[in-house]
């Protein structure tokens, strides 16, 4: 046990000592936290600015925004009585309308195309427009055009708003606070990406660690002091701890956004931190690190150099990549057969099960079954990889082949 711990501590020290790992692993959540903090401060100011700027809009005596229109097809013969006086001004051509816009006499203007009846082309011209915060509402102008096409403003009003609906739900549904919030929508993606990145980053560390020790002959010394089982267990424990540390950095960011985001980041009132999902993420993450860390360590055992493992790395990580890409399916249909299959299959469950838990309450038996299957797969893969850590394999110096890797793993090498 002592030697295993020693290997683990050394691996932790070396990896955490690498600036690139710490910058990428912990720097990104830190940077995002800083961005969130800036957004929290600046959005609070923006709310006050918007309130102040409201009073500077061009208003007619009726309180409406003043706009203009250029009717290229002479479709508009009358303005319905409901339209407040002074709200809409006709201009002969676009130049006149643009001049009025530039002088601030109007906030915007419409251009009705000559063949509006057939093409429906309607341009809405403004000086500035933000795709983030501004919304376009041309309903009133479209209603005016409909009234002129029908020749009857009242009929147009009835057609525009055809029903006044009273809703009678026979079953009272539970109101989900924050159902439409961005953070609720983004939570499954966040959890998936967090686990995906953590597993890939930490397990990739092992490939280079093993190949580097082979290249600089430290492996010869190590094998004379520790058994292959102790070595790989120590390395895998280090990978697991690194992965959990990375996850904790992201969880800290998430908690910060929830606790301090407030109205500035449109966090819905009553949105609580899903501690249960986070706890399950640590469990699934741990076994994910074990599985993929072991496979990557096995790659390192066979390859003379890390650059020889690139194509095999892709093959080994393929299930995880596929699970990540299929997250849209899982989020859209979390109770479907594909989602269930992905969340139970050990190579994809770290990502898929957590993605499912982020959108629905997964039955406990499924969660437990997934953990059991993952644990069994982790133990099996680790035992297979330990076989690869035979001295003659580690020191052979043979060139790397993907086929030889999988054959050796299955005991046929």
């Amino acid at each position: 046990m002592r030697k295993t711990m020693y290997v683990m501590m050394r691996e932790l020290r070396v990896t955490l000592g690498r600036k690139s790992f710490t910058i990428i692993g912990f720097g990104i959540p830190l940077l995002l936290g800083i961005v969130a903090a800036i957004l929290i401060v600046t959005n609070k100011d923006k709310v006050q600015e918007v309130a102040a700027s409201d009073s500077s809009l061009s208003l007619s005596s009726s309180g409406q925004v003043v706009e203009g229109y250029v009717d290229e097809g002479d479709l508009i013969q009358f303005l319905p009585e409901r339209i407040p006086a002074g709200w809409l001004t006709e201009f002969d051509d676009e130049t006149a309308a643009q001049n009025a816009l530039d002088q601030g006499k109007i906030e915007a203007y419409y251009i009705v195309s000559p063949d509006y009846e057939n093409s429906g082309e309607l341009a809405y011209v403004k000086s500035t427009f933000s795709i983030i915060s501004d919304r376009v509402n041309t309903d009133t102008m479209e209603w005016i055009l409909l009234a002129n096409m029908l020749g009857d403003a009242e009929l147009a009003a009835d057609v525009w708003q055809p029903v006044k609906t009273t809703v009678t739900p026979l079953v009272v549904a539970e109101v989900d606070a924050g159902e439409d919030s961005w953070i609720v929508d983004l939570f499954p993606t966040f959890m998936t990406v967090m686990l995906y990145l953590a597993i890939i980053m930490t397990s990739s560390v092992l490939v280079a660690a093993v190949t580097d020790e082979k290249k600089n002959r430290v492996m010869e010394v190590l094998l004379s002091s520790v058994s292959t089982g102790q070595m790989i267990t120590g390395k895998l424990l280090a990978v697991a701890i690194l992965g959990i540390l990375l996850m904790l950095a992201w969880v800290a960011l998430f908690v910060f956004v929830i606790l301090f985001g407030g109205s500035a980041l449109q966090i819905p009132v009553g949105f609580s931190i899903p501690y249960d999902v986070l706890a399950w993420a640590i469990v699934f993450g741990f076994f994910g690190y074990a599985i993929y860390g072991a496979l990557m360590a096995g790659l390192g055992a066979l390859a003379p150099d890390v650059k020889d493992t690139r194509s095999a790395t892709f093959v080994v990580l393929a299930p995880l990549i596929v699970a990540y890409m299929l997250m849209m399916f899982v989020a859209t249909a979390p109770e479907g057969p594909m989602a269930m299959g992905l969340s139970l299959f050990p190579l994809t469950s770290p990502v898929s099960m957590i993605g499912r838990m982020s959108v629905m309450d997964v039955p406990v038996w499924q969660s437990v079954l997934a953990v059991v299957l993952q644990a069994a797969a982790a133990i099996l893969i680790v035992r297979l990889v330990i076989r690869l850590f035979r001295a003659q394999t580690l020191l052979s110096g043979q060139s790397f082949e993907t086929k030889r890797f999988f054959s050796s793993l299955l005991g046929r090498g």
């Binding site: 690498r18 690139s20 809703v167 739900p169 549904a173 859209t332």
Partner: protein
């Protein structure tokens, strides 16, 4: 010059003949195919299918309206509220409307359901009511009402147009190009940081250096790696075009149809991207020359890609103030210029002088880094296993090596 081209050609052939190169070449196209296929499948899954009942007391709905293409929604008439409730309880219908006797005076209808019906079903019912209210009107006016207006928002100060106020796929093309460059940086960073590893390991570097200068050698290596990048980018762009055609014309995905790219914006991104990639390539080579650890060198590539995407995190302030100091500053900084120009193009026209200035800064930085890479390589040539510090590059001992 000839020797430099020799080095470039050797580097290109060496990398292009590896199996991993084919894998990387196909990575993005396969991902595109997968994503578009997935999008198509999800849109098929999300197609709503429902039957909505109605009880028409005043006899309003004498004509029926078919559901929109691709939606499987239909309306079913019932004689009474009780028969509709029975159908609802048996899951034959998703919901039903009861049109009040005095509808023509009050417009009152009642919507009854167990679970809120899909939006498309509500829309079909309301359109059917509209359709019947406009009985006798010309077909063109009825079609116009039911289709709605084709609204385009024109923003005069930004010189931009948005369909219905929302950016379209064409507006996002510059950003897609920027993302492609980011992916290119990630996939080619390995080649760039390891340009001299093989020669160092098998000791041929000392022989090569007797034939040409370190500066020319590094320039040749960088050019070879850039050649690889150009091949990758060409294949990826061809696949992107093919994917857009397939998605729009065969799979009938709406947002991939009738794409009208703004070629001016795309050209601006390309003008900035070329020298910026050269700059990043030189930086990767410099890092590879100075770092001892292969793994650190590889992770440096990942770090560069992250820098390229920093403007994404600053999207809101950039989009809100596309000509502000933050946006302009990020445009001139080589690592972030590609993505910033792409993001700014989404909401405003980027002035030509800023594009030229950004390209000039990136190109000058690239030349400086290539020179520095040559110098680093020269100083580090005999320092096997030792990490090179910045001060070592300009110290007296490095000058001794030079002479």
């Amino acid at each position: 010059m000839r020797k430099m081209w020799l080095v470039a050609r050797h580097q290109f052939i060496k990398e292009a003949s590896k199996r991993s190169f084919i894998l990387v070449l196909l990575a993005l196209p396969l991902f595109l195919v997968f994503t578009i296929g997935l999008g198509f499948l999800i849109s098929q899954i999300e197609k709503e299918s429902a039957t909505i009942g109605f009880v028409d007391h005043p006899g309003l709905l004498t004509r029926s309206l078919p559901a929109s293409e691709g939606e499987d929604i239909e309306l079913q008439a019932f004689e009474s509220r009780e028969s509709a409730i029975s159908a609802l309880d048996n899951d034959q219908i998703a919901a039903f409307y009861v049109i009040a006797d005095d509808y023509f005076e009050t417009q009152d209808v009642e919507l009854v359901y167990n679970e809120s019906p899909p939006y498309q079903a509500v829309q079909l019912f309301e359109d059917t009511v509209r359709f019947n209210l406009m009985t006798g009107e010309p077909d063109a006016i009825v079609d116009r009402m039911l289709s709605g207006a084709d609204v385009t928002v024109r923003v005069t100060e930004a010189n931009r147009e948005f369909a219905a106020g929302n950016p379209t796929f064409a507006n996002f093309l510059p950003l897609i190009v920027a993302a492609m460059i980011g992916f290119l940086v990630l996939t080619t960073s390995g080649y760039l940081t390891e340009v001299i590893v093989d020669e160092k390991e098998n000791r041929t570097i000392e022989i090569v250096i007797t034939s040409l200068s370190t500066g020319r050698m590094m320039a040749g290596k960088i050019m070879g790696a850039i050649g690889i990048a150009i091949v990758q980018l060409t294949i990826w762009v061809a696949f992107l075009v093919a994917a857009i055609w397939l998605g729009g014309n065969v799979l009938d995905i709406g947002w991939l149809q009738s794409i009208d790219p703004n070629w001016s914006d795309l050209l601006k991104v390309v003008i900035v991207a070329v020298p910026t990639y050269l700059c990043i390539a030189a930086l990767m080579t410099l890092i590879g020359s100075s770092l001892v650890d292969n793994q650190e060198a590889n992770q440096a590539g990942m770090l560069s890609m992250l820098f390229i995407f920093v403007p994404i995190y600053a999207f809101v302030p950039i989009a809100t103030n596309p000509n502000g100091p933050l946006a302009i500053g990020l445009t001139f900084f080589p690592a972030t210029s590609i993505t910033t120009v792409a993001l700014r193009s989404l909401v405003a026209e980027v002035p030509i002088w800023q594009i030229v200035a950004a390209a000039a800064i990136a190109f000058s930085t690239a030349l400086l880094l290539i020179w520095l890479a040559g110098r680093t390589f020269r100083v580090a040539m005999l320092r096997y296993g030792q990490r090179l510090k910045l001060a070592d590059l300009f110290s007296r001992s490095s000058k001794v090596i030079e002479t």
